[in-house]
Symmetry: C2
Subunit: 440 residues, 2 copies
Amino acid sequence: MEACGASEAGSTPAMRPMIGEAKGMRDFPPAEQIGREQLIGSLKQVFESFGFRPLDTPALERFEVLSAKYAGGDDILNETFSLKDRGERVLGLRYDLTVPLARFIAQNPQLKFPFKRYQISKVWRDGPMGLGRCREFWQCDIDAVGSSSMKADAEILAIASNVFQQLGLDVEIRVSNRKLLNAILDFLNITDKNAAILIIDKLEKIDESRFIKEFQEKGFSRTTAEGILEFFRNLPQGNQEKLDYLAKILKSQEGFEELKELLKIIDAYNVKVAIKPELARGLSYYTSTIFEVFSTKGKITSSVAGGGRYDSMIGNFMGSKIEVPAVGISFGLDRIYDALVDLKKLIPKETNTKVFVIPIGTDTESIGISQKLRAAGIPTETDISGKGLSKNLNYANSLGIPFVIFAGKQELESGKLKLRDMASGKEELKTIADIIKSLK
Amino acid sequence: MEACGASEAGSTPAMRPMIGEAKGMRDFPPAEQIGREQLIGSLKQVFESFGFRPLDTPALERFEVLSAKYAGGDDILNETFSLKDRGERVLGLRYDLTVPLARFIAQNPQLKFPFKRYQISKVWRDGPMGLGRCREFWQCDIDAVGSSSMKADAEILAIASNVFQQLGLDVEIRVSNRKLLNAILDFLNITDKNAAILIIDKLEKIDESRFIKEFQEKGFSRTTAEGILEFFRNLPQGNQEKLDYLAKILKSQEGFEELKELLKIIDAYNVKVAIKPELARGLSYYTSTIFEVFSTKGKITSSVAGGGRYDSMIGNFMGSKIEVPAVGISFGLDRIYDALVDLKKLIPKETNTKVFVIPIGTDTESIGISQKLRAAGIPTETDISGKGLSKNLNYANSLGIPFVIFAGKQELESGKLKLRDMASGKEELKTIADIIKSLK
């Protein structure tokens, strides 16, 4: 992956200094965009196989929508690109796809629930530039709005499992429940739950001494911090063992019951998960189920998707007292793309063109041949620049076009054309009908 | 098509006044987005069949790129949304896809020419709100960069023809050449060519008296205006007759020769066009071939695509003396969508789901059935809300899902399930294997 803002303006002598993409932004040239669209196509197919439907919302939202109390919060607002339109209205570029969804739901009371939508679009955050962090990036979200049943949570997990299976990416799906975590914190006598949750979420990312130090920095005693660490480190290993243990010690059983119900349903989908009570995820709007998907092979072992249930946010957004339950997941398109390329499950290619027809004094005929191949569903290029044979061959080669047809006059008269397999160099004389057969 | 900004904030009692989309922006709910993605899919398929490749560029560009001398011009700049990033750099939301392409070409001198790219993305213009005019809209552009041959222009026209043929939309492709128009203006002794061209472009849109008045307002004499009108009104009808006549009277033959060459090549593609020397198109950056596509049936008879050759813009943009020839076309996605819906060539639908499995005390089994259908490539929904039979039926009906399976316990035990065709109401008992066969 090209880092953001890596290409510096004016790096080529022919360029004016002003020429360059905006800081933190990046282009996706064809070789990357083709693979990305392939990935998006696979995701959409899975989403639609479960009845999720596409929604598109504008890039610009009213700033007051983006800054609503139950939206992204202050940290995100500080990173929101804002501007004024010609009527001096303050607008902002969306920083996620959840707030626009909530706004859309609020505006369309006629919608039938469950409203199952997906949206694969760009979002913008004017954050500090880190390694590979861009100010414009793709998000890929699915959400089921209007169902409070664990069946909805199970369906989202089944989709996640199906997506990564289809892509050939080995993952571990980690599941928890915010209510369960709260009950655990009650058991541990922790009152400042929000502060504790943010640190507990880092359990697998930082070492023990730092874990304890972060608690101390937030005013917890060393003993308390060590107690928390010990509790999570000493949890039984298996899902069933964990559940049995937690059932015994916890006062509030609500989160526990939800999790048990969820596990029962995902069993019908044959989806495997790992229960991780320490999984918290930063976002404060989760109310119940929480999940995160990690890739488990190859160089990149980071989080590739995450989400959960947020039953209060949309209703709060609407200003109504009615709860509008919702559960969703966000797929990290860029990370998934990088992981697939890294594991060679996705091979970037410059073009989808299958064959290049080189005219050799046969411009008109070469157009005819190309049109026949296209009509047969074979993406075909021919010369559009008036170049000679070797330059056309060079072009086809540089784009990795797998086949070339030499449309010589003699061959055309004989009814057969020379087809070269660019990888092997093998050449054969074939009729157009036979060429179509072998290229399809 | 929903007009932009039609929905007023706070129109529903349950809503807070702040909830609403930004002025001039609109959502695409599933029923519209599904059709739009279908349309985009058809367009992409044609583009790729000719070897065009996808490029993606950021929504935000440096303002100095958007305001470069050879970019969109002052009128467009006045409508450009601009903002500052955290580093106080002035950015703007792109108003078209051509300037980002020029910037990309300038920044990537390693690109092989011809560089044939397509981009289907949103652009933004903070213009006055007219009927159906949105401040965010889709553009769909293809451009071939680096070829000065009329073969490239011909390929673009062949793609346009192919696109509308595939969509089943009857169109007329009108073609002209800027050099030819200049030669005609020389013949008519017009010196202020730019002013004249902008009015001549309206020949078919406004009546004669207004046509003459607009010329007079720009300082032309009535006699001159009438002479121009007469010239274009009295041109011979057929393409060949027009060309023969123009060949006789024009001094500069360059545009004429290009047009003749273009016609010869598109003949090999079997593409029909109408030569319209009065076709000018407003944009001043066209240097040679110009074309515009009009739909000719149904309520909507407006322009659905347009473009031409612009050999100076990219080179100027790079600040180099080298010409970077380019030719391209922009498809009006919204107008094409509206025309297709109007002609019932595209029927909007709420969902791509084919069948809804209603559990009747068979939650687990219904998940299993749904998964089998999905594995067979049939988009399937089942209850995720814990609703009863009639509510699930209601949901399936409201989304227009064509089939419903009643998964009763008895039926499951017998190995057959009841499949209802929602349109006819017909019900059949079938095995899952048979259901898959009939739904595929």
